[in-house]
């Protein structure tokens, strides 16, 4: 299936505080923009994949979005894999098209935890709330601490991820945080859940983003940008909660990455630019290890020295990622991957022809990988 399907259109809402808007309304706005970008008729869409929003968890959410879009798609559903959902839905769309079940798929994700309910991110974990073990951040901090203890990873090394994201966000007019920071600023930002400072933590945002998947050889549409081929995808699910995971510092991203690289027929050395899920600074660092860019435990060293900044060996999260552009759970990273390969990124990587994208959900419970090629 390598290269047989493509992303033919992208669209998004503004990111930030969008008070008074439902997630369905945000999905419709993002979809409208993606449909226009792809140059297709709305009624050509015969598959619809929607992520269940964290702030509005309702049954048959996909059908509700379809109704708002005025569609009766042959294939429809909502998917809950947290921040891995977007990439997994793109994969499902490509497989549905390959199987002849559909020909034009809309993948759309919207959420409004900023002005709606952020309960999903700050709820007590299981029966352990008596300890004050609350929120998604606690689990990630537990993983980061173990990484520091096992491998000597430092807070300053985590800062390199945030510094790169903020530098790239500064160049993106649509990013929520546009002020660059230095390592010292990161270190001076308040501790939230030690070892995490504020600047290790992603934004909480309202917003939506959508994209259109078609066969790569679908008839070209007049005036529309060239479709960006999907070279590979994969997923891997660590599944177990942090407290149960035998290894805190390794995840099933290894499986996801290897699957996607195998399908694409490439390896880490072929990647020109990467958009790696960065809900917390530790995540891209561990993802790089699990994908094989460096050995386990060496991520802290590897991200230093400007390697992941614009102009470096592997520019990372070139629109700012979740740390700077928007905290919505993942689709913005795919959109930036498409923009890079179209040459439309706010921080273009000259000559980039392969972009790697990751998505990750829960506390590293779920993971998905996408390889895009220009």
């Amino acid at each position: 299936m390598r290269g047989r399907h493509a992303i033919a259109g992208i669209g998004q809402t503004a990111y930030g505080k969008l008070a008074g808007r439902s997630t369905i309304s945000l999905n419709v706005e993002a979809a409208r923009a993606a449909i226009a970008d792809a140059g297709i008729e709305k009624d050509a869409i015969d598959a619809l994949y929607v992520k269940t929003p964290t702030s509005d968890f309702t049954q048959l959410y996909g059908a509700k979005v379809a109704a708002a879009l005025g569609l009766q798609p042959a294939v429809l559903g909502s998917w809950d894999q947290g921040g891995a959902s977007t990439i997994s839905m793109i994969a499902m769309a490509a497989m549905a098209i390959e199987a002849g079940q559909a020909s034009v798929a809309l993948v759309t994700v919207a959420d409004n935890p900023r002005t709606g309910s952020r309960h999903a991110y700050e709820r007590p974990a299981g029966g352990d709330d008596a300890y004050g073990w609350i929120g998604v951040i606690g689990g990630y901090a537990m993983i980061a601490r173990r990484h520091m203890e096992e491998f000597g990873t430092s807070s300053e090394q985590l800062a390199a991820v945030a510094v790169a994201a903020r530098r790239h966000g500064a160049g993106n007019p649509g990013a929520q945080l546009r002020k660059p920071i230095a390592v010292a600023d990161h270190q001076a930002s308040p501790l939230v859940v030690d070892p995490f400072h504020r600047d290790d933590c992603c934004l909480v945002s309202d917003g939506g983003a959508a994209l259109i998947v078609t066969a790569a050889d679908a008839a070209p549409r007049e005036g529309a940008p060239a479709p960006i081929p999907i070279l590979g995808f994969g997923q891997g699910n660590t599944a177990w909660d942090v407290a149960l995971r035998p290894e805190l510092t390794a995840t099933a991203a290894t499986v996801s990455g290897a699957t996607a690289f195998r399908m694409a027929g490439i390896g880490p050395g072929d990647v020109d630019v990467a958009q790696l899920y960065d809900s917390f600074s530790i995540v891209p660092l561990m993802t790089l290890e699990d994908y094989g860019f460096c050995r386990k435990g060496e991520g802290g060293d590897w991200v230093g020295g400007g390697r992941v900044e614009r102009g470096g060996e592997l520019p990372l999260n070139t629109s700012g990622g979740l740390l700077s552009e928007s905290g919505i759970p993942g689709p913005q990273l795919v959109l930036e991957g498409v923009r890079q390969l179209r040459g439309e990124s706010p921080n273009p990587v000259p000559g980039a022809s392969v972009c790697l994208v990751s998505g990750q959900g829960g506390t590293m419970q779920t993971h998905a990988t996408l390889v895009l090629g220009g």
């Binding site: 700050e122 007590p124 974990a125 299981g126 029966g127 352990d128 709330d129 008596a130 300890y131 004050g132 073990w133 609350i134 929120g135 606690g138 901090a141 537990m142 993983i143 601490r145 173990r146 203890e149 096992e150 308040p190 501790l191 939230v192 859940v193 030690d194 070892p195 942090v242 407290a243 149960l244 805190l248």
Partner: protein, 135 residues
């Protein structure tokens, strides 16, 4: 219309035991796996036959975090507070609290110090000591 049948609340059973000062875990009668948090079937062999077993109290520290922000109003007075992830000698891992561990380090030996409500506290194991905590 009838009310839905109440489900057995295994977490409540486990916490009730903690409330009585007893740290327990589940042990599968078929394959011997020990596990937490409580669940109705063995996560290895999927068998439904298991029973509660009292933990010996020995454990080690896997990781820990320090909350500097109160995510619930009643925690405001508690910050900064530490939450630990410990592995019991019998195998199960659980969230716990630390007692007299000013400078935690990964993999350091711990032992059950005491319980307080539904919370289990772990303290360092003195080098010469194998099992029983001093009360």
């Amino acid at each position: 219309m009838t009310d839905a049948a109440p489900q057995r609340d295994l977490v409540a059973e486990w916490q009730d035991a903690l409330g009585r000062g007893s740290l327990t875990f589940a042990r599968c009668a078929s394959c011997g796996l020990a596990w937490l948090p409580p669940r109705a079937e063995c996560p290895r062999c999927l068998g439904p036959d298991w029973s509660w077993e009292e933990a010996g109290g020995r454990a080690k520290l896997i990781s820990w975090v320090v909350y500097h922000r109160a995510y619930r109003e009643d925690l405001t007075a508690a910050i900064p507070y530490t939450v630990a992830l410990v592995e019991l000698a019998e195998g199960p891992r659980m969230i716990g609290a630390l007692h007299n561990v000013p400078q935690p380090r990964a993999d350091q030996p711990l032992q059950l110090s005491h319980t307080e409500g539904t919370k289990a506290f772990f303290c360092p194991t003195p080098p010469s000591m194998g099992r029983k905590p001093d009360a």
